[in-house]
């Protein structure tokens, strides 16, 4: 059907604007970037972040700090008793935020009760179920005959896992949770309340954590196998050397050196949240929001969701194959691609031909 693509360079320089009647060698293909930007601004963006960790690790505060507004569950549904729920609950709150004309629908999904019981077996299950339920909802919308113009995206893009600042190593709960969930969602582990660790303790802790993750085959974001090219790998390697980020959250402002900054005031000093000499909050914020947000969403959509979809479509139907087996063996799951619209028996045509030619 089409010949092989030929390369043409139209105008290696000269980005140009719309008024360039004299520059006749400029076609204007790069104007598509502006068109895309306009479309994106008009549509707005969606982001769904889940926070997981024991109570008291500062999850709600960190969310408020990240988005510089009261987006956490506690700010929206204040709980006067501060009780710890008996089972894990999944609570999600959505917010419309806007910055410089860019509108975003942010959903923060909180998991109070995680890791707080005496027996925490299977405490990841409700969370796994929730994540898979979102994939399921999206899949159902996608396979509709009459589809919406824009399918609402409720899939969890990123799960921030809070590690308590023990300074020693990861607990079995941490390992178990991250091992299971790193397969279905992007996990960003952070060391919570890092102001209780000195810099040396912090570095040692981080190294231990990295080694343990590696030893257990847990691939947290940014996953090594999803690096697209060498540029990506370079950037992501640098990030991988720094995770987990040691963070401190705060939504209170203090006066330091004549400026008002977010921080935690103690008797021995004020910890500045956005000072990278004090904690790594800024790195986390940059990763999540300013540089890798689109990438996080892409990996959720094109890898985690697709994995779920493949599994779901395969398990529902053994017969979902392109060629019906001659002697079907019960129980085999074939995950070949299937073709909905073409004749699937390869023999039909041959027989007809034989019949007609011999008689």
């Amino acid at each position: 059907m089409s010949d092989s693509a030929k390369s043409h360079h139209l105008n290696p320089h000269g980005k140009g604007d719309k008024t360039h009647a004299s520059d006749f060698s400029y076609v204007g293909i790069d104007a598509i970037l502006e068109q895309m930007r306009r479309k994106a601004m008009k549509q707005g963006f969606e982001l769904n972040i889940m926070v997981v960790g024991q109570s008291g690790l500062g999850k709600s505060t960190l969310m408020n700090t990240l988005f510089k507004s009261k987006v956490s569950r506690k700010s929206v549904l204040p709980d006067p008793e501060e009780r710890i729920p008996k089972t894990i609950e999944i609570k999600s709150i959505s917010h419309d935020i806007e910055e410089k004309g860019v509108r975003m629908k942010l959903t923060v999904i909180d998991t109070p009760g995680f890791g707080d019981q005496i027996n925490n077996e299977n405490c990841w299950q409700p969370i796994m179920k929730f994540i898979n339920d979102q994939y399921e909802a999206y899949l159902q919308e996608e396979i509709n005959i009459n589809r919406k113009k824009r399918i609402p995206d409720s899939r969890v893009h990123c799960c921030i896992y809070f590690i308590p600042p023990t300074g020693h190593c990861l607990r079995p709960l941490d390992l178990e949770f991250m091992r299971r969930l790193s397969k279905v969602v992007n996990i960003v582990p952070v060391i919570a309340k890092a102001d209780t660790l000195t810099l040396e303790e912090r570095d040692h802790f981080k190294q231990t954590i990295r080694e343990e993750l590696r030893a257990n085959g847990i691939d947290v974001y940014p996953q090594k196998e999803f690096d697209e090219d060498s540029d990506d790998r370079m950037i992501n390697d640098k990030i991988r050397e720094m995770i987990p980020f040691a963070v401190v959250g705060s939504d209170q402002e203090y006066q330091v050196n004549g400026k008002r900054i977010l921080g935690r005031k103690t008797k021995w000093g004020t910890i500045e949240v956005e000072n990278i000499g004090h904690c790594e909050f800024a790195y986390l914020r940059d990763l999540l929001i300013r540089t890798h947000m689109q990438n996080i969403k892409d990996i959720t959509g094109s890898i985690h969701y697709e994995t779920y979809r493949v599994r779901r479509l395969n398990e529902s139907n053994i017969l979902f194959t392109a060629h019906p087996p001659e002697h079907p063996t019960p129980g085999t799951k074939q995950s070949q691609t299937y073709n909905l619209f073409t004749c699937t028996n390869p023999h039909c045509g041959d027989w007809e031909e034989d019949l007609n030619s011999n008689f």
Binding site: D3, I29, I32, L33, N317, L340
Partner: protein, 427 residues
Amino acid sequence: FIKNFIDHYSGEGARAVPLAGHVGFDSMPDQLVNKSVNHGFCFNILCVGETGLGKSTLMDTLFNTKFEGEPTQHNQPGVTLKSNTYELQESNVRLKLTVVNTVGFGDQINKEDSYKSIVEFIDAQFEAYLQEELKIKRTLHSYHDTRIHACLYFIAPTGHSLKSLDLVTMKKLDSKVNIIPIVAKSDAISKSELAKFKIKITSELVSNGVQIYQFPTDDESVAEINSTMNSHLPFAVVGSTEEVKIGNKMVKARQYPWGTVQVENENHCDFVKLREMLIRVNMEDLREQTHTRHYELYRRCKLEEMGFKDTDPDSKPFSLQETYEAKRNEFMGELQKKEEEMRQMFVQRVKEKEAELKEAEKELHEKFDRLKKLHQDEKKKLEEKKKSLDDELNTFKQKKMAAELLLTQAQQAGGSTTLKRDKERKK
């Protein structure tokens, strides 16, 4: 629980909160654009029009490149579609451009079926995308999208009205692709004739219910220019890749003895308008309309044709799957039935042939028997003849012996002369 969740997401639960400082997600559009730049873009244009209307030249002019190809002959037996893909680059934007040409359109004596190959081609691209989308293991991210984003319909510059071929073709295409009608080789029409021609064309399109692509007017930044341009449709274009010196500049133009038509002069033709609309302002919208409107329509029709229905809000199961399963079982059942039929027919034919052969065999046997009998009869006759011949011979021998005996006796009795005479007589 999921239902509640989806409600949440339709905007009912979201509250607007003010930000106390700079968060940084205003970089999202940049992140999105960067990703697209790394990935590259693709754009597919279909040029429909009679041979010789300047389709290839216009493409060359629009994209400032000499695409390959020779002018086609006029003796094609039917309409075929030829597509070529080119990789263009401008600053940091890489575009995979596919130009599809209708070869032989309008050249046949009977043009009733001309539109069919075009419709089939467009549908085939939708089909390919649909199949990829329905695969279990799919790679939509790296899929080369071949769906037609824009169809430039070239109208011959007669100055009167649209040809019936044009109306029929455009009517068949308007629900499948974004149609942008253009008046080709418009330097053949004078300005006043052109204005009348455009009005006539527009009114004919409207009265025949042909939906051409409207440049979008919902985004304020481009609403004004788009709505102005909408009123200039169809664009009257002139294409040229030759350059002529006007004043102290080299411009793309066509030189005639009576003057020079400058391609990029808006007083001379609408080429600049076309380029502006097609490429610089609405390329993304053309792609989006193709995906969200034309492709969805195709998909919906195709799936409904197969018998799929949507679940109603109350039922839970994976309905597409179940319907597919049911359809598939039905299909397999039919297939088996067909197999059975074929098998029976095969057996039947074998029997018939066998019977035929048996008949033939019998005939042969009979023939053989007849021949054999004939042969035997012959043989008998011959033997009888032989026998009678032998008998004659024997009789003759006997007579001969008797005669000889008599002769010997006669010789012994008397004179030899009488014997001789008798012998001679006997002989």
